[in-house]
């Protein structure tokens, strides 16, 4: 799929089972979020941990930096906070800034960036299929993993459908590009829904004719061995260690 972030590499991080990676990233993010925002150097430690994972996973820094721009709107919000915040104010270069706002801006920037980079590392080292499999093994309800599986499987098909409709429209000499021509866009969205829904019905019938009873058969029971859990636990354990030292210090 076009937008997916998976990076084909050979690395120890890529080889880890998806469920241990998801658990590690989730724990890491939770610890980052509950760290008090004034523990500045703890965030430096977290960033260092992510850098080590990125090197081990052979994910280039530039690749990460480019994808991390997804959180740009929140960085803009963070920039606005020192001006909009309340409470005690400090003067800096002739500007009156709110101290609470500066801390808030730092909070959003640091926690947001660490979270995005951690998620990017997960997405870069795990294929879509494996992510769903990992969620399944973490006892995520089967309804969700099934819906997500179907969604990802047919996303490309629908995107291609949409592309073909656009090309057909262009081939007939109409290229709606402004707000007042939005009807053509909306009509093709409607057509896309009809195609998607009718395809869903066909897929369902095809599955029923092959013995589907509402549950998908389990294909593999290869759960992650203990050693992988221990390896992946290194990230949250180190993170918690930094948080504890920062909290005590």
């Amino acid at each position: 799929m076009g937008g997916a972030l998976f990076l084909e590499r050979v690395s120890p991080v890529h080889r880890l089972a998806p469920e241990v990676k998801i658990a590690a990233v989730l724990l890491f993010t939770i610890i980052v979020v509950i760290t008090p925002r004034t523990e500045f150097w703890a965030f430096g430690g977290y960033a260092l941990l992510l850098a080590i994972v990125a090197v081990a996973a052979r994910v280039p820094a530039l690749w990460l930096a480019k994808r991390a721009t997804i959180e740009l709107p929140f960085v803009l919000l963070a920039i606005a906070l020192p001006f909009a915040g309340q409470g005690e104010r400090v003067d800096w270069l002739g500007l009156s800034l709110s101290l609470d706002g500066i801390h808030g801006a730092w909070n959003i920037f640091a926690k947001g960036t660490l979270g995005v980079v951690a998620s990017l590392l997960l997405a870069a080292t795990t294929t879509m299929r494996d992510l769903i499999l990992g969620l399944d093994r973490l006892r995520c309800p089967a309804v969700f993993t099934q819906i997500a599986t179907f969604m990802l499987r047919y996303l490309d098909v629908l995107a291609d459908d949409a592309r073909r409709m656009r090309i057909a429209r262009l081939a007939r000499g109409y290229d709606p590009r402004f707000l007042w021509q939005v009807k053509a866009f909306a009509v093709s969205v409607g057509a896309l829904f009809l195609r998607a829904y009718e395809r869903g019905e066909r897929v369902y019938l095809a599955m029923v004719s092959r013995g589907y009873t509402g549950r998908l058969p389990r294909t593999s029971e290869n759960r992650a061995p203990m050693s992988q859990w221990v390896t992946a636990a290194a990230l949250p354990v180190a993170t918690a260690g930094i948080a504890l030292i920062a909290g005590l210090g």
Partner: protein
């Protein structure tokens, strides 16, 4: 695909409040699954999967609003009108979870907040309005289009106010809440109007071609008389 996130990131709302909303979202979604099974029974997984893929695909289609400014549909209200509130909420949640895990859009710890706002609050507001408006408006393509427009605007604004509520409970920086609320409401009204125009036209198109597929209209139709099995000569 858009390169900027519109979903709440980590660190905007504090940990305890995020956790409360995560629990709330899980409970509400479990309820949605049960109700959605009533609508679709064992067809649930493939049909909801395709509708979720549709929402995702629609979000990838950009249209130009003004030269240099492009937007895309959010699709929540559209899904609610077409497939009903339960399946709609499930599909929007799936899209949000996948966007979070696969595209790093929205923080992992903010997933509960994002699902509460967009998949629960947004769809609930949208559907209640749809159900109410269709009692007074004509139940045809035009009536449905007006309904879709109003419901889209309200649903997007309500979802944005959900964020304001969460920020009031656990915002990490003191901000003047009326200011946050006003800014969010204003920007989301604009987004909602664009969303509403497209949702209205889309729903009208579907209602003309396959009115039997539109959940919001199906509710009001009398069940078809059961035909006795057997061949009539």
């Amino acid at each position: 695909m858009e390169t900027t996130a519109m979903h709440i990131a980590n660190g905007i709302v504090d940990g305890p409040v995020s956790a409360v909303f995560a629990v709330l979202a899980v409970a509400a979604l479990a309820f949605c699954v049960r109700k959605a099974r009533n609508d679709l029974d064992e067809r649930l997984a493939p049909m909801a999967g395709l509708v979720a893929a549709f929402i995702f695909a629609v979000q990838m289609l950009n249209f130009q609003v003004l030269p240099g400014v492009s937007g895309h549909l959010l699709g929540g209200t559209l899904a609610v009108i077409l497939v009903g509130p339960w399946v709609g909420a499930l599909c929007v949640s799936t899209v949000l979870i996948v966007q979070c895990l696969l595209f790093a859009d929205g923080g992992l710890t903010a997933l509960g907040l994002n699902i509460t706002n967009m998949a629960l609050l947004g769809t609930a507001a949208g559907y209640l309005l749809v159900a109410g408006l269709l009692r007074v408006l004509p139940r045809n393509a035009q009536g449905l289009a007006v309904t879709a427009f109003v419901a889209s605007v309200v649903s997007v604004v309500v979802a944005s106010q959900g964020f304001v509520f969460e920020y009031a409970l656990g915002g990490t920086t003191e901000l003047s809440l009326p200011w946050v609320s006003g800014t969010m409401a204003l920007s989301h009204t604009l987004i909602g109007i664009g969303e509403g125009l497209i949702a209205a036209t889309t729903v009208a198109t579907v209602a003309k071609v396959r009115p039997d597929l539109v959940y919001a209209l199906r509710r009001f139709r009398k069940p078809a008389p059961v035909v006795e099995a057997g061949v009539k000569a």
